[in-house]
Amino acid sequence: MAPPIVSIRDLSKLYRQGDINVTALNAVSLDIELGEFIVLMGPSGSGKSTLLHIIAGIDRPTHGSCRVQDTDVARLNESQLADWRNRNVGFVFQSFNLIPVLTAFENVELPLLLTGLKASRRRQQVTTALHLVGLIDRQHHLPRQLSGGQEQRVAIARALVTDPPLIVADEPTGNLDAKSATDVLEILRSLSQQAGKTVIMVTHDPKAAAYGTRQLHLEKGEIVA
């Protein structure tokens, strides 16, 4: 069996607020296999986002280790980490977070500007990504000219345009209506099933959770199921 893509050992995250310590994550250990579609659930404040952020390399643990494909993410310095994220992680946020002055095409192209690819090659990859989310006909639209569901699909195209092994999504359907949510979840599922991406998604919605291959429940910073 292939080694896990994500390997978490004894991971803790503490926040110090004045005198009180908040334990966001408490000694979490977890392995995630390549191509899994992991769903993180749990009550508000249970540490779902914190865990996702640490795996995605935008936050650092207080204790323990988080290895992604043999890279101990916490050991990288700021600029190495930025580079690592660019090549290994695609982000999908609850509030889309597209750049409002850029068209759909340009938003998707953004992560590629760091790769040194030629313009023609970039165009090819952006076009492929937009095809995958079914928005090639909207490539010249600005975010404000798109519906919420379309914006989120553009965000997914941006997340996968660099072809990263890992896609992280924090409540990607939280701001969407049922139909758009289904579209987004279908795309995420096909990314894991057909493209072999490892998808980690946080959600509160049991219907959304049903798309995952494995569900993890967090409570008070610990995985309970």
Binding site: D83, N86, R87, F93, V101, F105
Partner: protein, 382 residues
Amino acid sequence: MTLGGFILKNALRNKRRALLSVLSVGVSLFLFITLQVALRELTLPPEDLGSSLRIIVRNKVSLASPLPARQLQVIEKIPGIAAVTPFTFFGGLYKGDEKFTSFAQFAVDPARVKDVIVDAKMDPAEYAAWVADRTLCIVGLDTARRYNLKRGDRMQFTGTFYPCDLDLRIAGFYHGTADDRTVFFHHRYLDEASGNPGTVGCWWALASSAEEAALVTARINEAFANSSAEVRAETERAFQLGFISMWANIKVLIGSICTVVVFTLLLVTVSTMSMAIRERFRELAVLKALGFRRRELLGFILAESFGLSMLGAILGAGGAWLLYRNLDIQKLANGVFLAFEVTPRMLGMAFAIAALLGILSAIAPALSVARTSVVEGLRTLD
């Protein structure tokens, strides 16, 4: 899309704000250059050779007190003096002007003045005609052009502190001095018109060499020490510099205005830029998550603020340069300003200020962006 295109789109995302910040830099630098030009013009001492050779002899009491005409014989004989002429400021109102005449009229000895104001170039025939007729005058070319005067034209002046008027005809024109605006006429004409008081305003002399000039002034001062009309002799350059010291306060004033302008501008650009970046905090956090490094984000911010203030400089400083080059400032400022030249040094200063503005106003936002983690940045609301 290129990174440059991305920066441009960001800088122009709020077009009105971009325009206003470019304009505020532009207008301020325009003002800055204008003040610098005026300052330079007011304090520019003439640098010609004549000004270090020429000696001005005036009454020790004040510039307005006259000197006895008989001093001429004494000054003439002082060693090191090459030439000397009476030089009396008439200060009349020219008939073509309504309230204020910006060019001076001096009563001189035509036969002698030629050897004192050596840089003046005149047509020999015109000069001969002037010497021969006491009702004729010789006019600086700038004034002649300004009033469109021709040889033989009449020039009438109303006395302001002399109780007499002048009615002169133009014998010809001169040019080649530091200030080609003056009208020269016969001292004898003034003597007769004012009832032969036997006085002159000043003496203007020429030392035979620049080295002699300092000695000669001392000798002149000495010659009239303890007489009824003690004099102060100094070289024209020293005289001008003394005059300029009067402007020293203005210099300080203009200097402080310039400083305040630049400082205010700094406050404005810093706050505009901070605002522009604060609004984009979340987006910048997203860019970080996508893999952009701090130095790239810093580059974006710097390029944007630098670009906007440079555009302002091009508009303001370039505009001032173009405008003052094509403007007839002499006419507009009633002759107070002659050239009103924007020097390369001033342009350099304006662009340096703009560059500094661009850099300084990028520092604060860049620092706060660098200090904010992706997670913190994502949490900020749009």
